[in-house]
């Protein structure tokens, strides 16, 4: 039988107490030893593991790491540990298929195989970006939702109430405005003719997140709830509040965790191992039914550096080959370059090809890595691109993916730290027709043709 959530909570109260710094260092030290034990070595000449043997070793190391050091609860400063048997039960009990959304817009999200032909679920939309006003939020979201190559939509945020008062996390304005936001998003997807499509949003606090739920005009049970594991094998009670709400209301729980290259994970090898361990944490501790297995690089503001592609791709592949879990990759969700640039499309494509081919879905939307408080920093065309790439890469083999990724890396790799900023919606789109302006459409067509010639055939 699965460990109940309440047993997990008990362990947050009764597990070994330890200083946070000691836990952080234990991640690094243990991951280094496991890296040696399983002979895991990053080779920059091989951005993807194309035979799976390395991925299997990364998976084994990730399991061992999770069992060895557990999860740190920052609220109680205690470690939550599971036995090998308990972890096995958790993984075996986790679903390999779920239904999300409603009516004609309902989709199945299933365990995907490496190079598998299962259709990936794509949740696009400009993730968590600020919008200038309700009309702009409605129009951009509607434009994204109209595209049939995506299955769900992420919401953003309006930073002012009544155009005047700041929305501040942890304050009543967060609760009010995140709820208002979802109402606008729901109207927008209805106007797009897709009233039952999945909506995802995640407020800064669990209170703001829970406030978004309403079957009538908010988030629904069939949309799921996000729980974000704090970076590198940690959790706090605010994260666990989201799990508790999901469990109490029968809502699918989607988790997200990122290991950090250059952080306590160490190098790319450690980050791949910690990414697997983090995924297991999301399933076993946070009771997620599906999860994003992510990797960040501490000094680069993009999620598709060569090291990130290798680490995330190998971890995802390891999970896909060794479990029946539903994995979300979303590696291409945060390009360094802004919308309206070829580099945005290149970065997005590299990440989403790796996610899809290694056995994952992509549910984390589209967004330039750093948006600041710039409003309307994205368009529906990036959502279309994400959907087309993810679905176009279905069934692609790893050798082909590796070749295309190398081509793409050569296009953007040396431009990540000084990436082009791109443009906002107003400069790239006809706001009334909800169509790209000719220059942006042309740029998109050029990249599409270019990648077609490399063997990536996009689905319309």
């Amino acid at each position: 039988m699965r460990l109940s959530f309440w047993e997990i909570l008990l362990r947050t109260k009764e597990g070994p107490i330890i200083e946070e710094k000691q836990f952080d260092l234990s991640i690094f030290k243990r991951a280094q030893k496991l890296q040696e034990k399983y002979q895991i070595k990053y080779d920059p000449e091989k951005p993807l593991d194309i035979d799976g043997d390395l991925a299997d070793r990364v998976y084994q190391a990730g399991v061992e790491l999770f069992l060895d050091i557990g999860t740190y609860c920052t609220t109680t400063r205690r470690i939550i540990k599971l036995t090998e048997q308990e972890l096995q039960v958790e993984m075996n009990s986790c679903p390999d298929e779920l239904e999300l959304g409603q009516g004609e817009d309902r989709v199945k999200i299933v365990h995907r195989d490496v190079e598998g032909d299962q259709e990936p679920v794509v949740v696009a939309g400009i993730q968590t970006t600020p919008f200038s006003d309700e009309e702009m939020m409605f129009n951009i979201t509607k434009g994204c939702a109209m595209d049939r190559c995506i299955d769900g939509i992420w919401a953003g945020i309006l930073l002012k109430i009544d155009g005047k008062y700041d929305v501040v996390a942890g304050a009543p304005s967060e609760v009010y405005q995140y709820r208002r936001t979802i109402e606008i998003i729901r109207k927008a997807i209805k106007a797009a003719g897709r009233p039952g499509m999945i909506i995802i949003n995640n407020a800064p606090t669990s209170l703001g997140t829970i406030a978004m739920y309403s079957e009538e005009n908010g988030l629904r049970k069939t949309d799921g709830i996000e729980t974000t594991g704090m970076s590198e094998l940690k959790v706090d009670y605010d994260d666990l509040n989201r799990s508790a709400f999901g469990l109490a209301h029968g809502i699918h729980i989607h988790g997200s965790h990122s290991s950090v290259i250059g952080g306590f994970s160490g190098g790319p090898e450690g980050a791949a191992i910690v990414a697997v361990a983090g995924a297991l944490q999301l399933v076993a501790v946070q009771k997620a039914d599906s999860f994003r297995c992510g990797v960040l690089e501490s000094l680069v503001k993009s999620r598709v550096t060569r090291k990130e592609l290798w680490a995330a791709g190998t971890a995802i592949q390891g999970l896909s080959r060794n479990t029946r879990l539903i994995v979300d990759g979303s590696i291409g969700d945060h390009p360094a370059a802004g919308p309206g640039t070829k580099q945005y499309f290149y970065e997005s494509a590299a990440g989403h090809i790796v996610s899809t081919v290694m056995g994952a879905h992509s549910t984390q939307g589209t967004r330039k890595y750093v948006v600041g408080n710039t409003c309307n920093y994205g368009t529906p065309l990036e959502s279309r691109w994400m959907g087309e790439v993810c679905k176009g890469a279905v069934g692609m083999d790893r050798v082909t993916a590796d070749r295309i990724v190398r081509y793409l890396l050569a296009k953007y790799e040396d431009k990540l730290t000084d990436a082009p900023q791109g443009e906002t919606f107003e400069k790239l789109y006809d706001g009334e027709k909800l169509e790209p302006l000719p220059h942006y459409q042309k740029l998109y067509e050029e990249v599409k043709e270019e990648l077609g010639s490399q063997g990536l055939h996009l689905k319309d």
Binding site: K21, L25, V168, A169, S231, G262, S265, S298, L299, N373
Partner: protein, 220 residues
């Protein structure tokens, strides 16, 4: 005092200590520090030469990707321990005061990666850093800065909806008549230099390396 004025053996001792810290060889570094004390080498000079040089070299290794955050943490701890050994015979009035920085992620924001990196880099570069963690109320930053007689408050925010707390700390400092007592540096994913200027921050770090540069510029 100049390094070249020291006898060859003493110069070797100082260089070896620096290298042991850079290699994070705890046992050897402590032993060398004790030897330096026994040799009666000026402790302030030893700290400046061995520890400060080691900090620079550790930082370079991090920048080049050879070292990671845990190396910075371990090197920083080792510098503290070695500094305590070297400094135990320094009269209190001769102890050089380190610049004190209170750092944390603002209220309702749980992101720690960037803040940890900045805190650790500041510490390993010779600042005395008090890390308050994540989800820190504005008033707590101010109270801690007052208590420690800090030189700077460094505020991280990773969400557009938590950026207003950076402004709140500055506004609260003004309201309490304390704005002149502390430099305020801000940073985090969505934070820009323009925003930092708008809210009246003294400094801005676009990433950890930039934050360290900015802190040195403001305090050293």
């Amino acid at each position: 005092m100049e390094l070249s004025n020291l006898p060859h053996e003493q110069r070797d001792l100082l260089d070896s200590l620096r290298d042991a810290i850079v290699a994070i060889d705890e046992e050897r570094a402590k032993e060398l520090a004790k030897n330096i004390v026994n040799e009666k080498i000026d402790p302030n000079f030893a700290i400046k030469h061995s520890i400060a040089d080691a900090a620079v070299k550790v930082g370079e290794k991090f920048d080049s990707g050879e070292y990671f955050l845990p190396h910075l943490v371990m090197a920083g701890d080792l510098m503290d321990e070695v500094g305590a050994i070297l400094g135990k015979n320094i009269p209190p009035e001769q102890i050089e005061r380190k610049n004190v920085i209170v750092i944390g992620t603002v209220q309702a924001d749980m992101h720690s990666v960037g803040k940890n990196l900045v805190a650790t880099m500041l510490k390993s570069s010779g600042f005395q850093v008090h890390d308050m963690g994540v989800d820190v109320p504005s008033i707590s930053f101010i109270e801690k800065a007052k208590e420690l007689k800090a030189d700077m408050i460094a505020l991280s925010s990773l969400l557009t909806t938590t950026m207003p707390y950076q402004k709140e700390v500055i506004e609260d400092l003004k309201s309490m008549g304390l704005r002149d007592q502390f430099k305020v540096m801000v940073g985090g994913g969505p934070v820009t230099r323009q925003y930092a200027e708008e809210i009246g921050a003294d400094g801005y770090g676009k990433d950890a390396i930039d934050a360290l540069r900015e802190a040195k510029k403001l305090l050293m």
